[in-house]
C-alpha cells in the first residue's frame, strides 16, 4: 500500500474510515449523552454548544445517536462484507481453477443469483425475521457474492494458464496447494477493490433498510433510523437531515475513494493513446511561398516524455512525386508521418517545425485539420483495424465524400462506388455493402485507400501499407498505388523498410536513423553510391536477402561486407551527442563521437557522416 499516500483522496478516505471505525468501537465512552436519553424540553433546538449536532424530535442528542448508531450500521456492513468476500472468493476460485463443467454450472448459478431481486429477498427475510438484526445483511452478502466471484474467477482462469502454475503442477503440488499458494495471492488485489466498492453499497442498503423502519428496534439508534426520524420533521426543521445524511454519504464516498485508489494502484494509470486533436486557436497568418512544392516540412521536432522522438526533420514533396521514408523500426518514420498530419498520439508533442501545403503555412492545428483528407490522405499499416467496424464500407466512404466534397447523399453514394471501382475492387457494390470484418486484408486495404481518396487529395501518406498483407496481395496493392499515381497525379509519401518497394515506386528517399535524417537523395543515386554507412548497411542487408551473391556497396577504402547491422537503434532519450550510428558503424572514429554531425550535401545526395563531409583542412 505504499502507493496510497501519493493518492491524497484515497488516503483521506482511508482516514475517514479509520476514524468512523474507532468511533464505533469506543462509542459508549465517546458519546457525550446517552443515545436514548430524552429531554423533551430541548427537542429540535438545533445545533448549539450543548448539542453540537442538535437535538432530535424526542429530545435526544443527535451527535450521541450518530456515534452509537455507527455500531449497528458498521456491524451490518461488516457482516455483509465478510460473506461477500468469503463466498465470492470461494466460488470464484472453484469455478476459475477447476474450469470445465464445474465452471459452467457455477457460472450459471452465479448469474441466476444475480438476477434475483435482492431488495425483495431482503424484505421477505425481514417479514419473517422481525426485529431487523444482522440476518438481512448476511443475505445481502450472499446475494451479492457473485459479483466478487466473477472477478475472482476471471483472474484465476487467467492465472491457471500461466507457465509457473503449470510448473507447480509438474512439481506435483496438489490443486489445493496451488490455489492457496499461487492463485489466492493474485486474486487478493481485485477482491480488495471489489470489497471496497461493495462496502459502499452495503452501507446504503443497511441505512436504507433502517430508514424504512427495518433497522434496530426503536429507540435504539442507527444512521438510517436518524434519517427516518429527521424526515418526519422536515416541514418544521430540516436541519436534522444534514448530519446523519452527510455521515452516510461521507462514509460511502470514503469506501469509493479507497476502492478507486486501490484499483488505480494495482492497474496502473488509465493511459490510452488518444488521437483526437486538441482544440486550439488559429495562429499566425500564412506566409506566401511561391515554390511549386506541394508539401514542405521544416525542422520538425517531436517530444515524448522520455525525450525527443524526431529532431529537425525537413523534406519537400513536389506534386506527383513519390518520396520514400526508410529506416529500421523505432527510427521515427511513423512519428514523422503523424506529426506532418498533426495527429500525434496523446503524450507526444510537436515542439518545433513548420508545415506548408500549397505554399500556405498550415502549422496551426486548425489549418492542418482543414488540409487533412482534402489535400493529404492517409493509409495505415493495419487495414483490418483502420475502418469503423460498426458501419458498412459504403456508409463510411459516403460519409467521408459528403464531408469533404459537400455533395448530397445520393451523389456521395455514387462517388463512393466510383472510388471503390478506382481502387480495383472486383464487384464494388457487393463489397460496399459489407462490414470491415467481412473483408480480406487486401480488400480492406483497398477500402482504406478509397477512404483516403474520398477528399480527392493531392498527396497520400502511406505508412507501410503492405506490411500486414501476404506477398501476392502486397504486389497488387503496390501496383494499385502505381496506377493511382499515374492516373490521378497523386504524390506519395511512402513509409517502408523494403528497398525493393523504394526502387519500384519512389523518386527520392529519406533515410531516418534515431530520429534524424541521415541521408537523402534521388533513389537511383542512393542505390548507386550511398554515402552513409547506415544506408550502406540497410542496402547490403536488403541485397543479401534478395541475392546472396551480390557485392555489397563500398565506400572509399575496402569495407567489410555488412549483411546485417549489428546492434539496435538507441531508444529515444539515449541518443549520443555525436553520430548516433557510431556504436554500430564499422568505420566509427573518435571524430564521429565528438560533436553533432551536420547533414552535408555532396552531389545529388546529402548525408550525415564525417566520411562524406569535406575534410576539415579543405574547408575555409
Amino acid at each position: 500500500m505504499r502507493t496510497v499516500p501519493r493518492r491524497p483522496l484515497a488516503a483521506a478516505g482511508a482516514c475517514w474510515l479509520l476514524l468512523v471505525t474507532v468511533v464505533a468501537v469506543f462509542a459508549p465512552w465517546i458519546a457525550p449523552y446517552g443515545s436514548e436519553d430524552t429531554d423533551l424540553g430541548v427537542a429540535l433546538t438545533g445545533p448549539g454548544r450543548a448539542h453540537p449536532l442538535g437535538v432530535d424530535p424526542l429530545g435526544r442528542d443527535e451527535l450521541s445517536r450518530l456515534i452509537v448508531g455507527s455500531r449497528v450500521t458498521l456491524a451490518g456492513v461488516g457482516i455483509a462484507l465478510a460473506v461477500f468476500v468469503v463466498v465470492g472468493v470461494a466460488a470464484g476460485l472453484v469455478a476459475g481453477y477447476l474450469g470445465g463443467r464445474t465452471d459452467r454450472v457455477l457460472t450459471r448459478v452465479l448469474d441466476l443469483v444475480l438476477a434475483i431481486p435482492a431488495v425483495l429477498v431482503l424484505l421477505a427475510v425481514l417479514s419473517l425475521a422481525p426485529g431487523g438484526g444482522l440476518v438481512p445483511m448476511l443475505a445481502f452478502g450472499v446475494l451479492s457474492a457473485p459479483v466478487s466471484a466473477r472477478v475472482v474467477r476471471a483472474t484465476s482462469l487467467q492465472v491457471r494458464e500461466e507457465l509457473y502454475i503449470a510448473a507447480a503442477r509438474a512439481f506435483g503440488l496438489s490443486a489445493v496447494q496451488i490455489v492457496l499458494r499461487h492463485v489466492l495471492r493474485r486474486v487478493v488485489n481485485p477482491t480488495i477493490v471489489q470489497a471496497a466498492i461493495f462496502a459502499g453499497t452495503a452501507l446504503i442498503v443497511q441505512t436504507g433498510l433502517a430508514f424504512l423502519g427495518f433497522g434496530p428496534r426503536p429507540p435504539a439508534p442507527s444512521w438510517g433510523g436518524s434519517v427516518q426520524d429527521a424526515s418526519e420533521v422536515i416541514n418544521r426543521d430540516p436541519w436534522l437531515l444534514y448530519p446523519c445524511g452527510l455521515v452516510i454519504a461521507l462514509t460511502v464516498l470514503a469506501f469509493g475513494l479507497v476502492g478507486d485508489g486501490l484499483r488505480d494502484a494495482s492497474a496502473g494509470r488509465w493511459a490510452t493513446e488518444r488521437y483526437l486533436p486538441s482544440r486550439s486557436r488559429r495562429g499566425a497568418a500564412a506566409e506566401p511561398d511561391a515554390a511549386a512544392v506541394l508539401l514542405s516540412v521544416r525542422d520538425l521536432t517531436v517530444d515524448a516524455p522520455v525525450g525527443p522522438l524526431i529532431q529537425d526533420v525537413s523534406f519537400d514533396i513536389a506534386p506527383g512525386e513519390a518520396l520514400a521514408l526508410v529506416g529500421e523500426s523505432g527510427c521515427g518514420k511513423s512519428i514523422t508521418a503523424l506529426a506532418t498530419l498533426g495527429v500525434l498520439p496523446a503524450g507526444l508533442r510537436r515542439v518545433s517545425g513548420t508545415i506548408t501545403v500549397d505554399g500556405k503555412d498550415v502549422t496551426d492545428p486548425a489549418r492542418l485539420a482543414a488540409v487533412r483528407g482534402r489535400r493529404i490522405g492517409y493509409v495505415c499499416q493495419e487495414p483490418m483495424t483502420a475502418l469503423d467496424p460498426t458501419f458498412t464500407v459504403h456508409a463510411q466512404l459516403a460519409e467521408a465524400v459528403r464531408h469533404h466534397r459537400g455533395v448530397g447523399r445520393a451523389e456521395a453514394g455514387e462517388i463512393a462506388n466510383t472510388l471503390l471501382a478506382q481502387v480495383r475492387i472486383p464487384d464494388p457494390t457487393a463489397v460496399a455493402a459489407r462490414y470491415p470484418h467481412q473483408l480480406s486484408g487486401g480488400l480492406a486495404q483497398r477500402a482504406c485507400l478509397a477512404l483516403a481518396l474520398a477528399g480527392d487529395p493531392a498527396l497520400l501518406i502511406a505508412d507501410e501499407p503492405t506490411t500486414a498483407l501476404d506477398v501476392r496481395v502486397q504486389a497488387e496493392i503496390l501496383a494499385l498505388l502505381h496506377t493511382l499515381r499515374r492516373d490521378r497525379g497523386l504524390a506519395v509519401l511512402l513509409i517502408t523498410h523494403d528497398w525493393g518497394v523504394v526502387a519500384d515506386q519512389c523518386d527520392r528517399a529519406i533515410v531516418l536513423y534515431a530520429g534524424q535524417i541521415v541521408e537523402t537523395g534521388p533513389v537511383e543515386d542512393l542505390f548507386r553510391g550511398p554515402r552513409h554507412p547506415y544506408t550502406q548497411g540497410l542496402l547490403a542487408a536488403s541485397r543479401s536477402l534478395a541475392d546472396p551473391d551480390a557485392a555489397p556497396p563500398r565506400i572509399g577504402v575496402a569495407a567489410p561486407p555488412l549483411v546485417t547491422i549489428p546492434g539496435v537503434v538507441p531508444p529515444p532519450g539515449h541518443w549520443p551527442t555525436g553520430c548516433r550510428f557510431a556504436d554500430r558503424c564499422p568505420h566509427a572514429a573518435p571524430a564521429c563521437r565528438a560533436e553533432p554531425i551536420e547533414l552535408h550535401r555532396d552531389g545529388p545526395l546529402a548525408s550525415r557522416c564525417v566520411l562524406s563531409a569535406p575534410a576539415p583542412t579543405t574547408t575555409r
Binding site: 424484505l123 421477505a124 425475521a129 452516510i248 464516498l253 483495424t385 483502420a386 469503423d388 458501419f391
Partner: protein, 313 residues
C-alpha cells in the same frame, strides 16, 4: 437476426422460470413460520395447523409451487394474507407507477451519464477531474436522503413541486410529470454516475483505436468521429451498464417510492413486509424479475442494432 432474438427469448423465459422457483423456494425455506408470524406466538397448535392448511402451507413444496405458478402465469398471485384481497389486481394498478418512475429515471440517467462521460473523455484533464467528483458524489449520496433534500428544497423551502404523491398520466400529463420530477432526479443521479464512468472508459478506449487515427488523419469532423463512430463502437459496454443501472434503480425505487409516497410495487412490498404479507412480496419479486428480463431483452436487441457482428453471425 431473428434466430438471435428467438434464442434470447427462450433463455429469458427459462431464466424467469428458474428465478421464480428460486425466489419461491428461498422464501419458503426462510426461517420462521408464517402462521406464527401472523397469529403471534400465543395461539394454540390447532390454530397454527388450521392456518397452515388454509394457506396451503401443509402441502408439499412442489405442489405449492405448481399451484402458485399455474395461477401466476395468468397474473393471479393469490390473495393477501392480511386483507384477503386478490394480489394480482392490486399490483396491476401499481405497475404503471413503478414503470413511470424507473423507466423515466433510467432514461434520465442514461442521457445525463452519456453526456457527462463524453465530455470527460474528450476534454482536458481538469474537466475529467470535475466529472470524477460529480460521479463520486452521485454514487455516494444515498437516494432516500437525496430525495428528502430535494423535498426540503423544492417542496418546502421553495414550493414549486409536490413533495409526495402520484398523479396518473391519464389524469393529467402535466401533473404526472410534476409528481415524478423529484423522484426521477433522486433515482437518476447515482445511475448517471455509473453510466458516465463507463462511457468515459469505453469511449476513451475506442478513441485510442487505429480507425480513429485513420479517420482524424483523413480529415473527418471531430463531431462525427466522437458521436457517430466512437460512441457507437463504445455502445455495447455502455448499454450493459444501462441495463445494470435499470436493475439498480428498480431496487432503489423501493426506497424512493417510500420517500415520495408513490403507490408503486416497491411501496406495496414495504407495506407487506411490515404486515408479514409474504405472497405480496413474492408477487412483487416476480414482477421485478419480469421487468429485468424484458429490459435485458430490449438491451440485447439494442446490441444487435449497434454491433453488425452479432447481426450477421
Amino acid at each position: 437476426m431473428v434466430t438471435v432474438i428467438r434464442r434470447r427469448l427462450v433463455s429469458s423465459v427459462l431464466l424467469l422460470l428458474v428465478v421464480s422457483l428460486v425466489s419461491f423456494l428461498l422464501i419458503s425455506l426462510l426461517p420462521g413460520s408464517p402462521a406464527v408470524v401472523i397469529l403471534g406466538p400465543n395461539a394454540s397448535a390447532a390454530q397454527y395447523r388450521a392456518l397452515d392448511h388454509q394457506l396451503g402451507l401443509d402441502r408439499p413444496l412442489w405442489s405449492q409451487y405448481a399451484t402458485w405458478l399455474g395461477h401466476a402465469v395468468h397474473g393471479d398471485f393469490g390473495s393477501s394474507w392480511v386483507s384477503g384481497q386478490p394480489i394480482g389486481q392490486e399490483l396491476a394498478q401499481r405497475l404503471p407507477v413503478t414503470l413511470s418512475l424507473v423507466l423515466g429515471a433510467t432514461v434520465l440517467a442514461a442521457v445525463l451519464g452519456v453526456a457527462l462521460g463524453v465530455q470527460s473523455a474528450i476534454r482536458s484533464r481538469s474537466a475529467r477531474g470535475a466529472v470524477d467528483v460529480i460521479s463520486l458524489a452521485g454514487a455516494a449520496i444515498p437516494g432516500f436522503w437525496l430525495g428528502l433534500l430535494l423535498v426540503t428544497a423544492f417542496a418546502v423551502a421553495w414550493p414549486v413541486l409536490p413533495a409526495t404523491g402520484y398523479v396518473a398520466f391519464a389524469a393529467g400529463p402535466l401533473s404526472w410529470l410534476r409528481s415524478l420530477i423529484l423522484p426521477w432526479v433522486t433515482l437518476a443521479l447515482g445511475g448517471s454516475a455509473l453510466i458516465a464512468k463507463q462511457t468515459r472508459d469505453s469511449l476513451g478506449e475506442v478513441l485510442g483505436r487505429p480507425f480513429v487515427r485513420v479517420y482524424v488523419a483523413n480529415g473527418l469532423s471531430t463531431r462525427s468521429i466522437v458521436y457517430r463512430h466512437a460512441l457507437r463502437n463504445a455502445a455495447v459496454p455502455i448499454l450493459t451498464t444501462v441495463g445494470v443501472v435499470f436493475v439498480g434503480l428498480l431496487s432503489g425505487s423501493v426506497l424512493v417510492e417510500s420517500v415520495f409516497a408513490l403507490p408503486g410495487l416497491g411501496s406495496a412490498a414495504v407495506n407487506a413486509t411490515t404486515s408479514h404479507d409474504l405472497p405480496v412480496i413474492q408477487a412483487v419479486a416476480v414482477w421485478f424479475t419480469v421487468l429485468v428480463v424484458v429490459v435485458n431483452l430490449l438491451i440485447d436487441l439494442a446490441y444487435v442494432r449497434v454491433n453488425p457482428r452479432v447481426r450477421i453471425s
